[in-house]
């Protein structure tokens, strides 16, 4: 009897949790929902109270993709964000390995020095970086958009902290089995660090996907504009074409969503791995 009451109470509690979570999900997802429905509205209807547009239209998507060359911006963004995220993650994991597992003179001082550079606001770098890029003659190129962001101290920090927790014994046993330095890194460090590598890749990808100012500054050709720059073109001094912005935004969130679903597997894997160890 009491057991039944107990399960009943538990069912109630569960129901309550679900109601709470549902409400939270609605709150979080509503802006996305609004973005999608607005993208299907006619220009003047952007802010009407009707939830679903009375005559939905693909016009915004058509205009965004054909008249405004969003396809091109999209390709540029994919190239820039993927390349930058790939190399930034690669360099950060290599450096993270060294700082976590290798001993050399001044290692901790150097690490502290690098960390201190995190305290300098990113905006401070814009002008000097721009001057360097300009001197190299890299203006109006993918290089200009990608290269300056490949060394990522935050990523290094993340990788080092995670890799320190990997037991040295694993590395030692690999070495006893005759693994070289590169092999240790590839077969032990990388597979064990996949959750954090995926996280860092996602974070840097997202950063580059959303980066606006830098991509605008180093490019003077519309052909090389990225998605955020293209989106900003829809906003003039006093007004904005919201239906077009929303259609463009719908397109622009797709890769982030896709990558997130892909990377999510690894997040969960990371969590269960911790659970097993405990």
């Amino acid at each position: 009897m009491s057991a039944r009451r107990h399960t009943k109470a538990r069912a109630w509690r569960r129901a309550l949790v679900y109601v709470g979570l549902t409400i939270a999900a609605i709150v979080v997802l509503f802006p996305f929902f609004w973005m999608v429905v607005t993208a299907f509205k006619e220009p003047g209807q952007a802010f009407t109270a009707e939830i679903f547009p009375s005559n939905p239209t693909f016009e915004n998507f058509r205009r965004v993709l054909t008249e405004f060359g969003f396809g091109r911006y999209f390709v540029n963004s994919v190239i820039v964000a993927t390349t930058a995220a790939f190399f930034a993650t690669l360099f950060a994991s290599l450096a993270g390995y060294v700082f976590a597992k290798k001993d050399f003179i001044g290692r901790d001082k150097l690490f502290g020095f690098l960390l201190a550079s995190l305290m300098i606001p990113g905006m401070m770098y814009v002008v000097p970086q721009f001057a360097i890029i300009n001197k190299f003659g890299w203006m109006n190129s993918y290089r200009a958009m990608i290269v300056p962001h490949l060394a990522n101290v935050f990523g290094l920090f993340l990788m080092r902290q995670y890799m320190t927790t990997i037991p040295n014994e694993l590395l030692d046993s690999a070495r006893i089995d005759g693994a070289g330095e590169w092999q240790v890194f590839r077969t032990i460090m990388v597979p064990l660090s996949i959750p954090i590598i995926a996280t860092l890749f996602l974070l840097t990808f997202q950063f580059h996907w959303n980066n606006f100012l830098w991509q605008l500054i180093v490019v003077n050709i519309e052909r090389l504009y990225t998605v955020p720059v293209g989106l900003a073109l829809f906003r003039s001094q006093h007004e904005a074409s919201y239906t077009l912005i929303m259609a463009g935004s719908c397109i622009s969130v797709l890769p982030i969503v896709a990558i997130f679903f892909f990377a999510q597997r690894y997040f969960i894997e990371g969590m269960t791995m911790g659970a097993l160890k405990g």
């Binding site: 606006f212 900003a232 007004e239």
Partner: protein
């Protein structure tokens, strides 16, 4: 004899080189223009450039379209590395900043006085920094009063007669306001630029002639802002559009929550598309009559331009009568050239005609490189007055003291 021949040959060679150089220079004549036109304006601008190229065969013009939001940092960064374009389109207040840093070419010599007389005086003034003409306007605007004709009808008001004075606006507002339905007579924005029509209709002056003192806390300024506060606090006809989290005025007007708002000519086209039945009237008269503020954009030539004459010519081409006529007719905007004003008839462009009339009463904004900073000082103080945590006099005095300190540091 021999010597003569050598001389002749040498002279011929020199001439050839000079001519060749000349021809090359003509060929390489390139103008780079950074502009921030919106989606409707951009194609018209491209057409203007095409016509200019037709009149100047052999030149190349590179147009780079920038988002308005990123144009200023981009130009500033480019200036530090000397990679700025020949011509840029900048906001009225950014021109002063660029001119104060000595980045702009003076157009004093390049633009004849006769041409300057063709330009709408307030728009031209917005290009003058410390007595030097530093650009030419390509677009000008100011605020007018928009009103919802349907709500006017429902309240028993004449939909063809917007309020002519502030007193009338208050009387109208009381008839239009229905707090239960959430409908208010008017919605106002808080920032300084959006408050200037209040100040100017009361005869307040923004800055002293020497540009060292802000004068908005004088009796006229206090009366002007008191009116703005009273609309909300005492007359209860303002819907709190200035509050953070309040329904913003554009939105409230579109949705029939505010029967009147101030807005600029840029809003006409998008409002028409919503099917709202609205009218445009002059800013209501205060003790100093009707008046409005000036906004808009100017074209400037950078000092580093290798083709200053050609660049200046392009600026005059854009601001010239023919182009302005086309610009006004195809985009429904206020022409900056007085000679093109007659293109705007009240039959064909009923809304725009009101704006053109209002621009005759517009008061130019004094050119100071500190305008954005002044806004930043003024706005929170005005907000405090609006939500009644400070008296109007206190708020304006505090702001003006800060602004004067800023101006003295110039």
């Amino acid at each position: 004899m021999r010597r003569t021949i050598i001389w002749v040959v040498a002279a011929a060679l020199c001439a050839l080189v000079a001519l060749g150089g000349c021809g090359k220079k003509e060929e390489a004549a390139t103008l780079t223009i950074w502009q921030t036109y919106n989606d409707e304006e951009h194609p018209v601008f491209k057409e203007i450039v095409r016509q200019f190229k037709e009149a100047h065969p052999g030149i190349t013009i590179d147009i780079v379209r920038l988002p308005f939001a990123g144009a200023e940092p981009k130009i500033q960064t480019a200036l530090t590395t000397r990679t700025e374009p020949d011509i840029a389109r900048v906001d009225v207040s950014f021109l002063a900043k660029l001119a104060s840093k000595n980045a702009l070419l003076s157009l004093e010599e390049l633009v004849p006085a006769a041409f300057r007389d063709e330009i709408l005086p307030v728009a031209l003034q917005s290009c003058v920094y410390r007595g030097t003409l530093s650009g030419l306007p390509d677009q000008t605007n100011g605020l007018c009063l928009f009103y919802n004709r349907e709500l006017f009808r429902q309240a028993g008001l004449d939909p063809d007669r917007p309020p002519a004075t502030w007193d009338e606006l208050i009387a109208y507002g009381k008839k239009l306001t229905d707090e239960e339905k959430g409908v208010f007579g008017i919605g106002v924005r808080n920032s300084l630029w959006w408050s200037l029509p209040f100040f100017y209709t009361h005869g307040a002056t923004f800055l002293s002639d020497d540009g060292l003192h802000c004068l908005l806390n004088g009796p006229e300024g206090v009366a002007a802002f008191q009116l703005k506060v009273d609309l909300y606090e005492r007359h209860r006809i303002e819907g709190g559009a200035w509050r953070s989290g309040g329904i913003q005025n554009d939105l409230g007007f579109q949705n029939g929550r505010y029967a009147m708002i101030m807005n600029g000519p840029w809003a006409v086209e998008s409002l028409k598309k919503t099917g709202l039945d609205f009218g445009v009237g002059l800013i209501p008269e205060g003790p100093a009559g009707t008046a409005t503020n000036v906004g808009g954009n100017n074209l400037v030539v950078f000092r580093s331009s290798k083709r200053p004459e050609l660049a200046a010519e392009f600026l005059m081409f854009v601001a010239g009568e023919d182009i302005q006529r086309m610009w006004a007719a195809s985009l429904g905007q206020i022409p900056v050239n007085v000679k093109a004003m007659d293109a705007i008839t009240s039959d064909e462009h009923p809304y725009l005609a009101v704006f053109v009339e209002q621009m005759g009463t517009a008061i130019a904004r004094p050119q100071t490189p500190y305008y954005p900073e002044i806004e930043n000082i003024m706005n929170p103080e005005m907000q405090a007055a609006l939500d009644n945590t400070k008296s109007v006099k206190d708020a304006l005095d505090t702001a003006v003291a800060e602004i004067d300190k800023l101006l003295a540091g110039e």
